[in-house]
Symmetry: C2
Subunit: 168 residues, 2 copies
Amino acid sequence: MNFVEGKQELLSTWGTLATQWGINRTMAQIHALLLISPEPLSAEEIMEELSISRGNANMNIRELMSWDLVKKILKPGERKEFFEAEKDMYEIFKRVARERKRREIEPLLKVFDQLSKIEDENSDPKVVQFQKTVKNMSDFVTNANKTIDTVIKADENWFFSSIFKLMK
Amino acid sequence: MNFVEGKQELLSTWGTLATQWGINRTMAQIHALLLISPEPLSAEEIMEELSISRGNANMNIRELMSWDLVKKILKPGERKEFFEAEKDMYEIFKRVARERKRREIEPLLKVFDQLSKIEDENSDPKVVQFQKTVKNMSDFVTNANKTIDTVIKADENWFFSSIFKLMK
DNA sequence: TATTACTTTCAATAATATTTGAAAGTTTAA
DNA sequence: TTAAACTTTCAAATATTATTGAAAGTAATA
């Protein structure tokens, strides 16, 4: 496998992985492309490399910026915009965790909160198990949420090495 | 909100969340339905509750079993099969982690391994940054993989409380 | 063995998510 | 101003994924 083949393999694998995690394939591929690029790329270059349309490129680049994974670079004297990815993997991980927390976990906790308020005098086992399940889900997600907060604040070596030490 | 409305809300929210994580909506809803059910349910009952076809129910129940989240229960004297979900949230989390690791992380590490073997004498910055990125991704995923192993072996209270203590 | 009571399969269909591309919008500079 | 060089939008088209349901398969029982 040479560089060009390897690049295709990486972009394709990364894109496939992304879809398994509910992330748009093109978004992941643009991200990977910027990760392996030593220089910021323009929309044109991204469109070219991935054979995608201008609209698609624009939309996914902006989505990446909203996740704080990519930033716009303006080169002096150039009118065009260039894009550059944050390259530190742990930083990427933290930013994704922060966004998913905000977009998904927090709304979910609100739903649990509402569901926990359901009062049914009724001691029907169905109601009892429902309430038990909501409580368990809610407690678990609350803990997961706190764990994410911990990770977001921690630094990489400390976090990973601490986790490993737990099992020694 | 009463019990019936709350149940609908939970099934719907859980299903939506699942799609954001690359998991089939129906699969997640069947899982949630079994989680709130005090008794094992038959395929018929699942079809009825979620208004889905027999084929769809069958397919997703089997998928849940392949994730080891649901098991088949045979009641003595009954020909029909019933299904029951593992209800412990941390156990569910570990089983999902174990499966995603096996299905996604391990194949991914193989790809990284191949990509790391690309030798291009060439000191083109594009090649250099490619190799650097593959190395970073690979190291990060390797660490994440080890962390998952740690979590899979740990028990809940110990794991969560240890994590929190890290930040004190 | 034949019938009944189920479960499984899968091609066709439907639902959902992504992508395109042309038109509209914006900014810069002559 | 106007034109050029870009970026953004979004309705329509396409691609992907999920669902249906009827037929085929299987196993228990009469």
